[in-house]
């Protein structure tokens, strides 16, 4: 890639600007001195419970049920995480155990 320093600064700069904008927009629209409308308060209460589910799907967006390994590593690991978490209620154990199992599955079992 042959870019000048100026071009790179512009390029990275617009990406920084765009990212900051998406993070700051709600706070810019409703600054400290402005009353948050009831509808926005409602969204603030309800959205966290919907977004985490969306994020899980986002993480799994590239899996395929029609091609090998048919999303089996993901499915098996998530089932184990759910069982482990309901059973032991230990966040780090559920996350660590699930991720370790997934690594073993993709590196040794479904290669």
């Amino acid at each position: 890639m042959n870019y000048s320093i100026i071009q790179l600064f512009i390029f990275f700069g617009v990406v920084v600007l765009g990212t900051v904008l998406t993070r700051a927009l709600p706070f810019l629209l409703f600054p400290e001195n402005k009353e948050i409308p009831n509808y926005m308060k409602y969204l603030a209460d309800i959205l966290p419970f919907t977004i985490i589910g969306m994020l899980v799907v986002y993480c799994l967006k590239n899996i395929s049920f029609t091609k090998t390994p048919y999303a089996l590593p993901e499915a098996i690991s998530i089932v184990v995480i759910i069982v482990l978490h309901i059973w032991k209620k230990n966040t780090l154990l559920s996350i660590g155990g699930g991720a370790l199992l997934y690594m073993v599955l993709v590196q040794y079992v479904f290669v």
């Binding site: 390029f11 990275f12 977004i51 993480c59 997934y102």
Partner: protein
């Protein structure tokens, strides 16, 4: 000083899954940037100031495609649109937080958001410092990871395949916790079903914005039952 230390100690264990995930993904990013001929300066600059995992990877692809700042800007808005939901969700919690607020907003990544929106602030810990340390630690993990990748580059041969699944696991566990904390599961179901439906219709790279619109539509249409369920 004592209150800050308490906040740091409360924040630290919650960020451990992010530590693993960011170190692995950050290293992968550093290695990739290094292989494209970028110096540590650009790796650091982008991990400190862009600080958005998927977008940083997309930036490499955009640079390879040619110099198009406007296109890159619009692409950034599209890829990061989901952040708008995080901001809306934190509007109340981050109100009146003072001089730390700009940094908390700047560093609101998927992972940091998932922790600050769901973790209970322990007693005797000031919320603002609790949120600050979660945000700062995650940010430092990401920077450290990309530095390791940038310095060691292709010398690393440890097979990390699948290790980034810690972040998926983190979200799954938060989802289970939320599910057990509430009696009304409609919000979670709306989120999952909207995302799956839009993923199937629009494909893996263009589904988040439609999913966000569908979620917004559903929670607006079902505002009354959702509010009733939330209070009980």
């Amino acid at each position: 000083m004592q209150t800050k230390k308490a906040a740091l100690l409360a924040a630290l264990p919650l960020t451990l899954p992010v530590f693993t995930g960011y170190l692995v993904l950050g290293t992968a990013y550093g290695i990739l940037m290094n292989s494209k001929g970028f110096s540590l300066f650009w790796i650091l600059l982008s991990s400190i100031f862009i600080y958005a995992g998927s977008m940083q990877f997309v930036t490499i692809a955009l640079l390879a495609a040619g110099f198009d700042p406007l296109g890159a800007f619009l692409m950034t808005l599209a890829v990061n649109a989901r952040h708008i939901f995080y901001g809306i969700s934190m509007l109340k919690q981050y109100r009146g937080i003072g001089r730390l607020k700009p940094y908390l907003i700047f560093s609101l990544t998927d992972e940091t958001f998932s922790i600050v929106c769901s973790a209970k602030v322990p007693e005797k810990v000031e919320p603002k410092w609790f949120y600050f340390f979660i945000s700062l630690l995650d940010h430092l993990y990401w920077i450290t990871g990309s530095l390791i990748g940038g310095i060691l580059g292709s010398m690393l041969h440890f097979n990390t395949k699948g290790m980034d699944f810690v972040l998926t696991a983190l979200f799954v566990v938060i989802l289970i916790n939320q599910w057990q904390q509430t009696t009304n599961h409609l919000p979670a179901i709306i989120g999952i079903v909207s995302a799956i439906a839009c993923r199937l219709i629009f494909g893996p790279s263009n589904f988040i914005i439609p999913a966000m619109l569908m979620i917004l539509f559903c929670v607006t249409v079902w505002k009354a039952p959702l509010e009733r369920g939330n209070k009980s």
